[in-house]
């Protein structure tokens, strides 16, 4: 019998090889893909986020765990698609126009994917129209905007305005974050939430997804 705790530990330790092997073995023993994700993998990434938040994990540990999560997820994807399992939410994420910084955005994207969200990462220097177009195309319910600089974060407001002009503002929850961004700024530009770090951003996204489901 496959020990799912081993999968949990492999993700926590950033051991991609073991994570993939245990996931394969579990599937061979007919453990449902969704059970693997819900009982071992998502809790492991949650713990990674918690450790990152309390400065026990740093950028390498987070990226290594995300890599292990992806390796374990790979053999599960076809089964998940066939089962019609729904993601925790659909997220469009990107670094706003004028800004090319993306490590923070990548960390958030990795934790979101690890948390069961379907993530469309638009990369960096993303124009408001691109966010609008992608939300329309993917039917996303969460938009995450990142910026490093105090001046480029003004593009966050332009993006929110763009979503509003396209009639999409009610459809999506907009979360913002990045080095220069503050909670006060998030409120000023009409964002729905501010993530102080990658882990907090994922907790926010999860709360938003839950609220939408309940609502």
């Amino acid at each position: 019998m496959v020990d799912l705790q081993q999968l949990h530990e492999a993700i926590l330790n950033g051991d991609a090889k073991t994570a993939a092997a245990v996931a394969q073995a579990a599937l061979a023993q007919n453990v449902p893909a969704l059970e693997l994700i819900q009982t071992a993998m998502v809790p492991a990434m949650d713990e990674v986020g918690r450790r990152f938040e309390c400065q026990d994990y740093f950028v390498p540990e987070l990226l290594l765990s995300a890599r292990a999560m992806k390796a374990a997820l790979e053999p599960l994807r076809p089964l998940l698609a066939a089962s019609g399992a729904q993601p925790a939410g659909k997220v469009v994420i990107g670094t706003v126009q004028g800004d090319l910084h993306d490590i923070g955005k990548n960390l958030v994207a990795a934790l979101l994917e690890g948390g069961g969200f379907e993530v469309t990462d638009l990369g960096v220097d993303v124009a408001p129209e691109k966010f609008v177009e992608t939300v329309q195309k993917t039917n996303a319910n969460i938009v995450c905007l990142s910026a490093l600089l105090t001046v480029t974060m003004l593009s966050m407001k332009t993006t929110i305005d763009g979503l509003r002009a396209a009639g999409l503002r009610e459809q999506v929850t907009v979360l913002v974050g990045g080095a220069a961004v503050t909670r006060q700024f998030a409120e000023e530009i009409g964002a729905d939430g501010y993530g102080e770090n990658a882990s907090a951003a994922v907790a926010l996204a999860r709360a938003c997804a839950k609220a939408a489901t309940v609502g």
């Binding site: 390498p60 540990e61 004028g98 490590i103 105090t150």
Partner: protein, 376 residues
């Protein structure tokens, strides 16, 4: 417009005394890590093609083409003219180190300047991500490193002014050479490779900093090495203590050997490493502050009995705030940090091309007024 220069004559000896916390009296000096060419052009009225500054600073000093050299000389002239116009005690110069780096992307930050390009390092792709890459990488020989800008400035600076040498640090260059993501993976997959790249960079840095510090026109070394982001260090403090901190000490020693102050600029939340910077590396001053992480006056209260503190006026305020707000915040910082000495006024990061010039002037003007009101 600035009502008048910050001071009539440069006095690097006073700046040095403040950085070494040798005296508490006298005016609060101004000090920045760097000013972007756009800001220097606006202050002096001297046009300069900002996008070309990097070609000179990062070029191979032994094979600069005449056009690049001409732009380089114009850039050094611009730096000196900028310092003279503002009434600063120093001119910033950079040793020429022909290190091959990863791709740098340019983007317009969308601020109200025609040329407001900022460079961004590629975080996904590195020049050295495997042992083979490392073996193939062409490290500059030590004799290719040049302090031409310092030698040039020595002949051009007004009396009383000295060169503040800006040197980009080994951790920042490690990220440049490996890319942050490949570096993160390598810390687990191949830590020896990370160590070897760091050693190569340290060898170059030790030599360049030593060479620069030895020059009589050099007043100090401003070592720029971003090691953190908003909530912590990129890599664990344990990793940094093992692989980076001892090497920073070697670089600081190369400066101290010539009796010059060694200032550390490091962005992000690096508080976990402060004791190492002070006790092991032996920094004389710390620069780069964000109100969101720790307002400069709180940092000053914690560390000013051991090191000098530089700058701290938040970049967000300088970029988006009003002149009145900048003046008020400048006063607030001076009130907390000036009386105890060991403090230089300046921005939280640099005179970057995305701050408002009127706000930058307001910070300078308010500091001058503070000094005059206090009989300095």
């Amino acid at each position: 417009m600035l009502e008048r220069p910050f001071k009539e004559k440069p006095d690097f000896q006073h700046l040095r005394a403040v950085l070494l916390r040798e005296r508490k009296d006298g005016p609060v000096p101004l000090l920045e890590l760097v000013a972007d060419p756009e800001i220097m052009s606006e202050v002096t009225g001297i046009p300069y093609p900002a996008e070309h500054a990097r070609e000179f600073v990062w070029g191979n000093p032994n094979s600069l083409d005449p056009k690049t050299l001409e732009l380089g000389v114009a850039f050094m002239d611009l730096s000196i003219a900028y310092s003279a116009k503002l009434g600063l005690d120093y001119a910033t110069m950079t040793p020429l180190v022909p290190l091959h780096r990863t791709r740098v992307h340019l983007a317009n930050t969308g601020v109200g300047r025609e040329q407001a390009l900022r460079s961004w390092q590629d975080e996904h792709v590195g020049l050295i991500t495997t042992r083979d890459d490392f073996e193939r990488y062409r490290w500059p020989s030590l004799d290719q490193i040049s302090i031409l800008p310092i030698e040039y400035a020595a002949t051009k600076m007004p009396d009383g002014m000295k060169v503040m040498v800006m040197y980009m640090g080994i951790f920042e260059d490690l990220r440049q050479l490996m890319g942050l993501e490949p570096l993160a993976y390598a810390t687990a997959d191949d830590p020896e490779l990370v160590d070897d790249v760091l050693e190569g960079l340290t060898r170059v840095a030790e030599h360049a900093v030593g060479l620069a510090a030895a020059h009589p026109a050099t007043g100090g070394v401003f070592y720029a090495d971003d090691m953190g982001f908003s909530s912590g260090t990129f890599l664990s403090p344990r990793f940094m203590r093992q692989h980076v901190i001892p090497r920073l000490k070697r670089i600081a020693d190369a400066c101290h050997r010539h009796g010059k102050p060694f200032l550390l600029h490091s962005c992000g939340n690096v508080l976990a490493l402060m004791e190492d910077f002070i006790d092991v590396v032996g920094i004389d001053a710390k620069h780069s502050f964000e109100d969101k992480i720790l307002p400069v006056e709180e940092f000053y209260a914690r560390y000013a009995s051991r090191i000098a503190v530089v700058g701290g006026l938040d970049m967000d305020l300088l970029g988006r705030g009003s002149e009145a707000e900048v003046r008020a915040r400048t006063r607030q910082i001076l009130h907390a940090c000036a009386p105890g000495g060991g403090y230089c006024m300046g921005t939280g990061n640099s005179a970057a091309n995305y701050i408002k010039l009127e706000n930058y002037y307001a910070m300078i003007d308010e500091t001058r007024k503070w000094n005059e009101e206090h009989g300095c």
